[in-house]
């Protein structure tokens, strides 16, 4: 397979018989995938290797330089550090090592010589031997490799050429080639088709997924409709949509025509105070309407709320996709700098140039809109419908931001992944066009999803303790978007995805196994490789990296796994209830109006409409709503007091996280945009970056002490310090003794019952009213802290944390009881 001198390798086209042989070899089980120390994917070929290379480490990696060997395969540029431990041959393949970069992520290759720099393209020829090779990536990383004086010149030049020739500027053919290089081998296909998908998150693919969500939210008067099962009603909507229980499918069918792309008002989420969040596209007004249509619309729109509906128009105050695209490209240019063209913004103009990109402005406007909506929902018992012309961009941003702000479940990793499935993937955000992997829809390109991730990062940055997921997770997701490998991002809607998977064959067996229903497992001979979902993180990241996706100390899990929609509503609600049933208001530019003709086709049966719903309407209702919004502006004060009372004070878990949006509070996501910049060195203590978090280290110490104690005194205190014999779950044990907060990262993984799992359990058990614990009183001080524990657990046993033992003897005892519980 490889010819050439000891140091240079050229690759011949793989002949079919060689392919056969590789396959037969692997089936025997001798699958040594190590090629000169590089652990190759099945079918991956090393094109070039260069020894004695140093890689510049970022602050996160500990800074400085790391020596090793640089490889270029037809899938990635890989760097293997010296003395890196030999990987286990039987371990599952990981697409990219910690120091690797996929060819598809590379945007620019720059060679740095003794006194010049040159952008290397497939056609360019080098007139000097590079000392340094800089790879600019689409995900805003910058990889910098330094060649040693002892590195053979030929190798240096060869690898530079090879990378420049193999990485392709994205275009239709190259993406497929890349996918094939990564996943196309028979072995890889087999491997992927045997992978089970994460059952701890909600994929929102089946009707039962949606029912589970309805149950979790306590949205009882809604139902899952399969009216769009064959995508006949709407191309871009998912198979299943959630509509009011009382609306029949036949009635529903008549509504589709009245909305752009048939995207009728659909339920997204229910606030525990009983407000519903809906999404819809703009009205179609060029078709004939019947009286019934209006009635149907009203039924869909008002859903189960009899009182009040606020339509939030998203067009006005939010950036357009084109705005976002422009801002993002400016931000890229600003943050990356560019040594090839050496146009870098002078440091003293950095702040004003950053301001000039408007990126932060756009984040602010998204967060502001989401805060407004959250405040409306908080007031209880109304319907908020987000309306956007196409309902496929900013409404994804706003609806998911609202849910992150209001629902702690969506601040866990699994919950967040479910949210993206629900509001982006299934709702038909046009990932494929917006990301523009194929460079065929430049006009459509717009990183709306990246803007959303940055908004979430801002929330995380301002409320780190209220999130279970970390910025590392957000960063991993950010980077994955730039890799054209994931089914999640490679289609514009569910319909396209279904089409594709019919071609390719079902991948990722769902747990309940409806794979068989869809037909035989087409294994090898399709032209397109099967694509994994992005959520299969083990494909991309090592265990250590994945451990960093969640906080070492868990924030509050949602106190009760079910939101039953019956949380105490505050006084505002009653005031609002006066607004009279069935009023529709339009919120635009921070002001409410009662539109004379909200649905533009009212001409047909407007009389009925007015009669049924507008009678109670009067002008003084509007101030009532405005007060809600004003409350938002002022909440920053009351919230401040709540925060000041800290963990002692009761904190309503559903109190929305309202971010501060003043200039000084909006910061740049440096860990993302500036991590590759050549001047960037430090974000953290250089040494500690490689070490476990101090909390982790201490937790391990405590664990060791516990073990010692248990060993020392099996007879002295058998009941006080029980160590579970099960060696696989030491952390679980520890976890419980620490009152449900965790000592270790690992304790947060599903096996030790994190919130999402319990969600599943509860939903399978019975009706929400029966299994849900009574709604948590909001003002009952001592029993709760937002940080730790389920309230139920805290109530059933004396909690040692809140009642510190006067002597040393009591503590183990209470620990013991918690161990047995």
């Amino acid at each position: 397979m490889l010819t050439g001198s000891r140091t240079t390798f050229k690759v011949r086209q793989m002949l079919p018989d060689i392919k056969e042989r590789m396959l037969s070899q692997s089936s025997i089980g001798a699958r040594s995938r190590d090629v000169f120390g590089l652990r190759c994917l099945p079918g991956e070929c090393v094109l070039q290797r260069t020894v004695m290379v140093r890689k510049k480490l970022t602050a996160r990696e500990g800074r400085g330089w790391l020596s090793g060997t640089l490889f270029c395969t037809h899938f990635r540029v890989a760097f293997v550090p010296q003395d890196s431990p030999k990987a286990d041959d039987n371990a599952d393949p990981i697409l990219l090592g910690d120091h690797d970069i996929a060819l598809a992520s590379i945007e620019k290759v720059v060679a740095v010589g003794p006194n010049r720099t040159k952008l290397v393209t497939p056609n360019s020829s080098l007139k000097f031997t590079p000392e340094e090779l800089v790879l600019y990536c689409r995900d805003m990383r910058v990889m910098c490799f330094l060649f040693d004086r002892l590195t053979p010149d030929a190798q240096v030049i060869e690898i530079t050429y090879t990378i420049a020739k193999t990485y392709q500027p994205l275009k239709p053919g190259s993406v497929l080639a890349f996918q094939n290089a990564a996943l196309g081998s028979v072995e890889m296909k087999q491997f992927l088709s045997n992978r089970r998908r994460d059952s701890h998150m909600n994929w929102f693919e089946s009707a039962s997924d949606w029912e589970q969500e309805l149950e979790r939210c306590g949205a009882t008067s809604w139902r899952v409709s399969s009216v769009n099962d064959r995508f006949e009603m709407s191309n871009s909507l998912s198979k299943f949509i959630v509509v009011p229980q009382k609306v029949l499918d036949t009635e529903l069918k008549k509504s589709f025509a009245h909305f752009n792309e048939g995207r009728i008002p659909r339920w997204c989420w229910r606030h525990p105070r009983g407000s519903d969040l809906l999404r819809m596209s703009s009205f179609q007004n060029n078709i004939y309407h019947e009286k019934d249509d209006i009635r149907n619309l009203e039924m869909v729109l008002f859903g189960c709320q009899s009182s009040l509906c606020v339509v939030v128009e998203l067009g006005d105050e939010l950036p357009s996709p084109a705005d976002i695209q422009l801002a993002h490209s400016r931000l890229r240019a600003l943050c990356l700098g560019d040594i090839s063209s050496s146009v870098s913004v002078p440091d003293d103009k950095w702040l004003s140039t950053l301001e000039g990109t408007h990126w932060l402005d756009y984040i602010r406007s998204c967060l502001r809109k989401a805060s407004e909506v959250s405040c409306l929902l908080r007031s209880g018992h109304l319907t908020v419908a987000l309306q956007e012309v196409e309902d496929r961009d900013m409404s994804c941003v706003v609806s998911s931001l609202v849910q992150v702000m209001c629902d702690p479940h969506y601040r866990t990793q699994q919950g967040f992944q479910g949210l993206v499935q629900k509001e982006w993937v299934m709702a038909g955000h046009r990932f494929y066009s917006r990301i523009n992997y194929h460079r065929e829809s430049d006009k459509e390109e717009s990183p709306v999803f990246l803007l959303f991730l940055d908004c979430v990062w801002h929330l995380w940055f301002q409320f780190p303790s209220r999130f279970q997921l970390t910025d590392d997770f957000l960063l991993a997701l950010h980077d994955s978007v730039h890799l054209p490998l994931f089914s999640t991002f490679l289609s514009n809607c569910q319909r396209e995805r279904c089409k594709r998977s019919q071609n390719v064959g079902q991948l990722y067996t769902p747990v309940n196994g409806w794979r068989d229903m869809l037909g035989p497992d087409s294994s090898s001979d399709t032209s397109d490789p099967p694509l994994p979902p992005v959520w299969d993180w083990a494909l991309q990241y090592s265990r250590e990296r994945r451990d960093g996706f969640v906080q070492p100390v868990a924030p509050t899990p949602p106190l009760q796994p079910l939101l039953n929609g019956n949380l105490n509503t505050n006084l505002d609600t009653h005031r609002l209830a006066d607004a009279g049933p069935g009023s529709v208001f339009l919120l635009s530019r921070g002001a409410f109006t009662c539109p004379a003709n909200l649905p533009p086709w009212r001409s047909g049966g407007s009389g009925a409409y007015r009669k049924s719903h507008r009678r109670a309407l009067s002008c003084e209702n509007v101030p009532g709503l405005e007060r809600l919004l004003k409350a938002w502006a002022l909440t920053e004060l009351p919230q401040n007091t709540a925060a000041a009372s800290g963990p002692k004070g009761p904190l309503d878990p559903y109190e929305p996280l309202l971010p501060l949006l003043m200039g000084p509070c909006m910061s740049l996501w440096r860990e993302c945009y500036l991590r590759g910049a050549l001047h960037a060195q430090a974000f953290s203590h250089p040494v500690s970056a490689n070490r476990p978090h101090p909390v982790d280290r201490l937790a391990q110490e405590v664990q060791q002490l516990r073990d010692q104690l248990a060993q020392l005194s099996p007879r002295a205190a058998p009941d006080t310090l029980t160590v579970t014999p099960d060696p696989r779950r030491p952390d679980t044990n520890l976890n419980q003794s620490a009152n449900n907060s965790t000592f270790l990262y690992s304790a947060l993984r599903p096996k030790s019952t994190p919130p999402p799992t319990s969600t599943n359990q509860h939903t399978s058990r019975g009706p929400p009213s029966a299994s849900a614990p009574p709604p948590r009183p909001t003002r009952d001080g001592p029993k709760h802290s937002f940080l730790f524990g389920h309230s139920a657990v805290a109530e059933t046993r004396s909690d040692p944390r809140y009642h510190p033992p006067p002597g040393a003897t009591k503590l183990p005892k209470s620990n013991g009881s918690s161990l047995t519980s």
Partner: protein
């Protein structure tokens, strides 16, 4: 921790706590020994909440205001020391609501405005009281620190002893000696009494060098690298003047400094000023080292003078108080140049630290060697020496490089002085603390102290409650018997250290920290500069931090238990073996557990 009420409410949190007690119940502690009795109805023109009615109480230490309106819970607790200016606003006849009252400008990034009833000269009493006690020196009254009766368990004046600190650095040695030539401040009245100079240098040489250095501030050692013996030496500018005077003794002295370290081929002289300013200084008799200094190289660090810094911070105040510019925040921030100055100071210090850690001795000066020089040497030492990153070590650093070497705190802050427009005032020390804060942000586990310490230091920089930052130099402090008559700020800090500790501190000796001095990575210190804005969310204790403290307590428990078991069962084969447990001992281990128990008690 409940021993004393919140004296100075810096944070909103504290303010809210203070709200709980009405003015009448206001705890007068030993602090307010002489309650100056102004207690009257007043309206506070709050820039965030509008006019707030309430009562004001003025003591010889502070102004305390509490709203009498239950709907607007608000309290102000302002040490009179932070007031830089009091003005009467409006006259007895001026029209308009709330147009008659007082305007107070503070040194800590805020202004206060009070309105009173126009009848009966109601503001006269308040105005005079404030004027008298905010500016005691202008009224021949003692500074509050001299009447403060507070007692603390720890005596902060013992934190720094010059000899001890030199000994810690390994001095004297065969290259450097300690001299007491300045014992009675006759060599240099703004230097401390104990100095470290090259071993080969005679006392007479020092005197001759002193004639050639501005204000006699001769080059003396600040810090020596333990391994490579490279040193940081500080001084003032040479008195070159227009005629380009030379001084053989000074030239020889600098060469002695260079010789004291074998690896220094050329002594690097860092002149903190911009080149043009250094040249301009020749006109007033100063200047910089020229080519006549063989074996030396001169580098200008381009840091602006005290007047530029003062104006920069003034501009910053304009954009953050009371209202924060929103739409063009970043460009407004840029136009203040505050972060740019921070960047220049930091990058200067990085250059110094880098030179020294690579084995090259350096000499640092500006004009007089008490502003920019202090910033540079102390920051470089903070980067080089992990001892200064501990709570005690940081106190030593401030005592040594700032207080003992004569940073003119009295002039720069204007303690007790009514002359608010004094051109000598400048936020040089604030800028230094800002630089330290930037470093703690970039290296969150490298410092034993937390942000709260930095805020406390800045609060008491102005408050005059402690003697620590009073007066310009040691000679005057001795004359005023400062150490025997006042309390040190470090007494307060070291009496309850745990609230100033960073739980994530991971000691790393020998690690040189190089922060990134780039606008891309510097941040505005929002929790200091914009802390009066109620919308800025104040940092609560992070859950991770709290968890950490609980784990510490748990570890203590287990250790104790283990010990007991081992005592009772000495034949046990198990040893309190390994690795991790013994490093319990650091001061952090016990104090957080106290914190822990304290945290529990409210439940």
């Amino acid at each position: 921790m409940t021993s004393k009420p919140v004296l100075i409410s810096q944070t909103a949190e504290a303010t809210h706590r203070a709200m709980a007690s009405p003015v009448s119940e206001y705890h007068s502690s030993s602090l307010d020994s002489r309650i100056a009795s102004v207690d009257q109805e007043i309206i506070y023109m709050c820039p965030f909440n509008g006019a707030v009615k309430g009562k004001v109480l003025i003591t010889n230490y502070r102004l305390y205001f509490k709203s009498s309106d239950a709907d607007v819970p608000l309290a102000l607790d302002v040490p009179l020391g932070v007031i830089s200016r009091v003005e009467k606003m409006g006259g007895a006849s001026s029209r308009g609501e709330n147009s008659y009252g007082l305007d107070i400008t503070c040194k800590d990034m805020r202004n206060l405005r009070f309105a009173l009833k126009q009848e009966g000269h109601s503001r006269r009493g308040i105005f005079e009281m404030i004027f008298r006690y905010a500016f005691p020196l202008s009224h021949s009254l003692p500074l509050f620190a001299y009447v403060n009766q507070e007692k603390y368990t720890d005596n902060g004046w013992l934190v720094y002893k010059a000899m001890e600190e030199f000994r810690r650095q390994g001095l004297p040695n065969n290259k450097w000696r300690i001299t007491f030539i300045n014992k009675s401040y006759d060599l240099c009245d703004t230097y401390p009494t104990v100095l470290a100079v090259p071993f080969k240098c005679k006392e007479d040489d020092l005197r001759r060098v002193a004639t050639f250095r501005s204000r006699g501030r001769i080059p003396v050692l600040s810090w020596i690298h333990r391994e490579n013996q490279a040193v940081i030496v500080r001084c003032s500018q040479p008195l070159v003047g227009m005629s380009g005077k030379r001084n053989k003794d000074d030239e020889r002295y600098l060469d002695l400094i260079r010789e004291a370290n074998d690896t220094t081929k050329k002594l690097t002289i860092y002149d903190a000023r911009p080149n043009v300013n250094a040249v301009a200084n020749k006109a007033t008799g100063g200047g910089y080292e020229g080519d006549e200094y063989l074996n030396a190289e001169l580098v200008f660090l381009d840091i602006q003078n005290i007047h530029v810094m003062r104006e920069s911070l003034k501009k910053l105040k304009d954009i953050v108080y009371p209202n924060v510019e929103e739409s063009h925040w970043l460009s407004s921030l840029e136009s203040t140049h505050w972060l740019e100055h921070i960047k220049l100071v930091l990058s200067g210090a990085i250059q110094v630290a880098d030179k020294v850690s690579s084995g090259n001795s350096v000499l640092v000066h500006c004009s007089d060697g008490w502003d920019r020089t202090a910033q540079l040497t102390s920051l470089a030492m903070l980067m080089l020496d992990s001892h200064y990153r501990t709570l005690r070590g940081f106190q030593v650093l401030i005592e040594k490089e700032w207080i003992s070497f004569g940073h003119k705190f009295a002039s720069r802050i204007g303690h007790g002085d009514k002359n608010h427009a004094d051109q000598d005032r400048s936020p040089i020390f604030v800028q230094f603390i800002d630089c330290v804060w930037q470093m703690t942000k970039q290296f969150p586990t490298a410092f034993e102290f937390n942000e709260h310490l930095l805020l406390t230091i800045l609060d008491h920089l102005d408050s005059c409650r402690f003697g620590t930052f009073l007066y310009n130099c040691e000679s005057i402090r001795d004359q005023q018997e400062l150490r025997s008559k006042t309390v040190s700020l470090w007494s307060l800090v070291n009496s309850k250290m745990d609230i100033y500790l960073n739980p994530f501190y991971t000691p790393e000796s020998g690690q040189v920290l190089y922060p990134v001095a780039s606008m891309r990575h510097l941040e505005l210190w929002v929790t200091y500069y914009i802390r009066w804005n109620p919308r800025i969310r104040h940092q609560q204790q992070s859950p991770v931090e709290q968890r950490y403290k609980e784990l510490l307590a748990l570890r203590e428990e287990y250790l104790k238990k283990l010990e007991q078991l081992q005592l009772s069962d000495s034949s046990s084969p198990y040893q309190l073996a390994n690795s991790t447990t013994p490093n319990t001992t650091s001061s952090t281990a016990s104090t957080p557990s106290q914190q822990y128990t304290h945290l529990q008690t409210p439940f």
